[in-house]
């Protein structure tokens, strides 16, 4: 089987969105090679693959930590919970190409010495995964056992320790404090646990087949391969796009300077990510390192092009209030701080004269929540607010000098918070 060429690795190069069944999957990619755990660990290490669920952690490093963490047999969690409202790439991948994810999960299980894989996914892809697992079972393809656990529909569902809590039957699905002992040591059923995003696992399926050198043919030296993006604001509806790392969004999304003039700012990384000025976001090399150097993150591949004609501060106020409501309600600094932060952004959006201390009050409040939760939820909200204050500084000044925008239509997808159901 020849290795694929070009940036369409996980997606069908012809743009087809049909489900790729097992026969078509094997016709396109061939069977999985019979690699030893050591060969798999080495290949993943050398590929430079990093976690694409948002944390950007080196996959090989994580696998080695789990493989060597104790005498008990580890559990692998393929994580497709995707609680981020602006993201749809994991659901799309699970629907479109379930066998790539299952191949990758099986390879991860072999590498870390596990015989149990939990597919932790949102409700949508469950039927498709059941069908895919049935196809594999008839051919006895896998030596590990698969089970499906449905993730609740809330922002934090995919957070590592929250996912483990759901799988362990704990309700509600909220993070636990892992300051001393992480899920890598003690997770599902008390066993060492590898939680890996489903897109990351799909890349593993291809690295196992074609090797780390092939993987690095696309991308940059420190960001190898491709990533799936969920792009909002470019077309009528959000779309999933596969891009090589290091490209520019201008090129990847086919944006000409005229189209760029209709964009007020670009959100990278979703509601826990950060805003980047349009010209920078569209022309910078698209990598996590570059996004971080601009105070943002590509996170789980969310890209929102905010059009002119909507009030960016109203959009931020809606998101921050949503994120406040999506907190687990466990940690004092987050419970108190996010509420004050949300209220302050709402003041700036709707009642700018009520904002005590002016715009400068917002970064100060961010500093009070950063690094002080059991999980990174408050850190993401702080990043969102800090970058919004910078990127929309002119608009904020307009609010403070002339009052709020008179009419504005909502743009970003902001579900009603899950808080009432879980607290």
């Amino acid at each position: 089987m020849s290795a694929p060429v070009g940036p369409s690795r996980l997606l069908d190069p012809s743009g087809g969105a049909d489900v790729i069944g097992l026969d078509a999957h094997l016709a396109r990619w061939g069977t999985l090679p019979d690699l030893s755990p050591k060969a798999l660990l080495d290949a993943v290490d050398r590929s430079g693959l990093r976690g694409l669920g948002g944390a950007w952690f080196p996959v090989g490093t994580k696998w080695r930590a789990v493989a060597g963490s104790g005498r008990r047999r580890p559990v692998v969690v393929a994580n497709g919970a995707e609680g981020e409202p602006a993201s749809g790439k994991d659901r799309y991948l699970l629907h479109h190409s379930p066998h790539l994810v299952l191949d990758g999960a099986a390879m991860a299980a072999r590498a870390v010495g596990s015989d149990r894989v939990v597919l932790h996914v949102s409700a949508g892809p469950v039927a498709g995964l059941q069908a895919a697992l049935a196809q594999r079972a008839t051919r006895r393809m896998d030596s590990c056992a698969f089970e499906i656990v449905v993730a609740p529909d809330r922002f934090l569902a995919g957070q590592e320790s929250a996912a483990v809590a759901t799988i362990n039957g704990r309700n509600p699905a909220i993070p636990t404090f892992v300051g001393i002992r992480t899920v890598r040591d003690q997770g599902v059923a008390g066993r060492p646990t590898l939680v890996q995003n489903v897109e990351t696992l799909a890349h593993v399926a291809l690295i196992a087949r074609y090797g780390p050198d092939w993987f690095g043919d696309i991308g940059t030296t420190d960001s190898a391969g491709t990533a799936l993006l969920t792009v909002t604001g470019r077309w009528d509806a959000p779309r999933i796009v596969e891009v090589p790392f290091g490209t520019t969004l201008e090129r990847a999304l086919g944006l000409d300077p005229e189209a760029a003039r209709g964009i007020q700012g670009v959100l990278l990384g979703g509601y826990g990510g950060g805003w980047v000025p349009t010209s920078t976001a569209l022309t910078m090399p698209f990598t996590e390192q570059v996004a971080r150097s601009h105070g943002s993150s590509i996170g789980a591949g969310v890209v929102v092009l905010l059009p002119t004609g909507v009030c960016p501060l109203v959009e931020c106020a809606r998101v921050v209030r949503y994120m406040e409501g999506e907190g687990a309600g466990q940690c004092g600094p987050c419970v108190n701080g996010l509420d004050v932060l949300a209220t302050s952004v709402e003041h700036l959006a709707y009642r700018p004269r009520s904002l005590r201390g002016g715009v400068a009050a917002l970064p100060t409040l961010c500093g009070l929540v950063e690094g002080r939760g059991a999980c990174h939820h408050p850190d993401g909200v702080a990043r969102f607010v800090r970058t919004a204050v910078d990127v929309f500084a002119d608009h904020a000044a307009l609010h403070l000098n002339r009052g709020p925008c008179q009419t504005t239509r909502p743009f970003l997808s902001v579900p009603s918070p899950a808080r009432s159901a879980s607290r």
């Binding site: 004092g332 600094p333 987050c334 108190n336 701080g337 939760g373 059991a374």
Partner: protein, 72 residues
């Protein structure tokens, strides 16, 4: 053999903001506007290790941990 080194960490889920820690160990702990502890410094200074240990057992929620960091 080198001396043991420690970091003070708070379990923010267990902590309910009683504030005892900031009274016992003001050298390292202050309170935020809502009464929850902010820990200053990555490492407990040598002279404060005993006091830090006593602070951890005085916390009504046992939310503080003195974590040894010189061996991993």
């Amino acid at each position: 053999m080198s001396r043991p080194r420690y970091r003070l960490i708070v379990d923010p889920i267990a902590c309910d903001g009683a504030g005892v820690c900031a009274e016992l160990l003001p050298e390292m702990i202050t309170l935020d506007p809502w009464g929850f502890p902010i820990i200053h410094g990555d490492e407990v200074p040598d002279g404060l290790v005993d006091l830090a240990r006593r602070t951890t057992v005085s916390c009504p929620r046992l939310a503080l941990t003195l974590l040894r960091i010189d061996r991993s």
